[in-house]
Symmetry: C2
Subunit: 408 residues, 2 copies
Amino acid sequence: MVEMIDGGVTTPQGFKATGVHCGVKYRSLDLGLLRSEVPAAAFCAYTSNKVKAAPVQLMIRDDSPTLSAVVVNSGNANALTGRRGMEDAQSMKDSVAIEFGIDPKEVGVMSTGLIGRFMDMHKIRYGISRAAGELQEGRDADAAFAEAVMTTDTIKKEAAARVRLTDGTLVYIGAISKGSGMIAPNMKVLQGTTLSVITTDAKLSPAFKPTWQGILDDTMNMVSVDGDQSTNDTCILLANGMAAGDYADEDPEFIEALTAIMEKLARTIAIDGEGATKLIQVEVINAATKDDARKVVKEIINSPLIKSAIFGSDPNYGRIMMAVGNSGAEFSLEDVHLTIKGGDMEVPILDSGAPVFQEERSVEVVRMAMDNKEVTIVVDLGVGSESAVGWGCDLTYDYVRINAEYAT
Amino acid sequence: MVEMIDGGVTTPQGFKATGVHCGVKYRSLDLGLLRSEVPAAAFCAYTSNKVKAAPVQLMIRDDSPTLSAVVVNSGNANALTGRRGMEDAQSMKDSVAIEFGIDPKEVGVMSTGLIGRFMDMHKIRYGISRAAGELQEGRDADAAFAEAVMTTDTIKKEAAARVRLTDGTLVYIGAISKGSGMIAPNMKVLQGTTLSVITTDAKLSPAFKPTWQGILDDTMNMVSVDGDQSTNDTCILLANGMAAGDYADEDPEFIEALTAIMEKLARTIAIDGEGATKLIQVEVINAATKDDARKVVKEIINSPLIKSAIFGSDPNYGRIMMAVGNSGAEFSLEDVHLTIKGGDMEVPILDSGAPVFQEERSVEVVRMAMDNKEVTIVVDLGVGSESAVGWGCDLTYDYVRINAEYAT
């Protein structure tokens, strides 16, 4: 029983945060700082893009098992910035470490924004020193931290949950995320530009890593706005254990709550995809393998033809089967069932390899289902028992406008 | 020495063609017919999408080594049409066979248009019978055939060449192609919706197949408008041998001419990509493997972020390196050189893993290079000696408009 609550990164015990404007961006908040009262077990996952931003490279190199603070800036990704970028990312860690009297390795660092420009470290250092003096708990602090991380995002992405563990301990999970464009994360623990910070006062051991990877693979790694994986994707889960109690590593209530939090963030990123007017949820069922199910989901949510059709509520469902055919998944066309859902409507499309609807008037039913803020495509491959769910958004005039003008 | 000439499918000896309007589409020509005086050695390549249109399935099943005629309709793809679709495709072959008194297996069939609607065979049969009586040679016939194949295409895609073979024989090659959206062909000989018909009066043996696959892999299979491979892609090369002379299978002049023809078609498809305002040519050099080089080309030409940036002449070249990093190709960032060319400008972008330009004024140079009808991106991976070239187009408001309204 997951109880979702109104909250953010400072909802769990022992976390404070803030967001300030230091001038990387012209207006809006651009530097966020989060502090845990005690060192928190850190579970970090990073982009699998071979071109990794400087802060990502640094975090992977340090591979610190615990973190006491996380600093994030928006407006500049510090990616493709060579040696100087590495020095700047290190300097961000150092500045925070000095403020709090901690080891720089205890400081998580994330950047997001334009790729290929050097950071203005005067602004960043000013921001860190100001933020360090303004840390707070509560919804205002949550909001400021969440806003400082945003780039082309139009909505704040927060989630929180309260969980009663099996041993009776009451723990909290709080989370923020950002991401609107260059979104197709494939983040790997141990080694996404969506940035996420999840805080919890539950206790977690290093053995939680594979479970964390599994949750990411089913949630954040199943979102795609444009199929372009960023150089900066990073997801940091901080567990400071201040709620006491047993390790929550295998606690089904905790895992369910964390999964629900991550799924909410993932859906919100898709809803807020650059220029998006609609959320597209794709469910693939009865696939031969989990990998097949995920491949079909991704082929559909990344197809510009399908995304454009959904934008226009154009019942061009043949494009969905085009994508299924390109996925590489195993199936026989005769056994595939395709259903499009929107609002109260649930419209079957395919029967024995041919469309159910042929006449213009009946095709209109499909258009009505597609003419909703949330469109769900269900593909039953009819060949096995594995399934996957993923989230994307429609391709709109605004996506083109935003990305034809980003650097300027 | 390839001599490109003004010509089309009836330029080589022994080919006649026409295009008629039979009513599948509201106006414009929608049925094309091509006839070879003698059976022509046929080299066919088809989409590798697992969901194959009925005519593609039929052609693969018959796998006829020679063809005497090719019938093509536009407006309806006869894809996702189940058993009835197969019957309709066979009926197209049969109708042509009856007109010419030949075996239905000797008739090539191709369809392009909307997916998931049954064909109106009354219209198609009327069209075939009319076209059979109107076959001609010459530029008007070429043009009618080329137009009958078009869907969202805005320009006719024709090419022709005259080649003096090593043995002195003078042969001709003529070609047409169509394709504007759902373009990311990966056509395989022996087993793309771009449809192409290439005619030649040269003599070719079955041993020419691997050479043909190689030419397709370097030309048509390196075009991408939207990364979505069609259910209908088909490419038919007909060699009727009427110029006499030796087999041209290994004739370097012939191979060079055919490659030039196919490259011209490929570039024209990219230029005429749905909504496109610019051609993007991507050259990857010094890759470890040919496969690496092709992967980098495709990752770049399929990135909606890069395509949108080029539409807006937005110098956001960080996105190019984002794509290189996602390609899976082997490289060290420090060794990579990136150059953007447009008009007379050739602008180096990366030096030792960091951008050359940092100031707004100098970045303006990149914008100027990008502000051309043809933009070339050169990625030197600095790790090997393999290379690849590919073609795509920008992502524009019109692409979204066209594809949000296609079925209607």
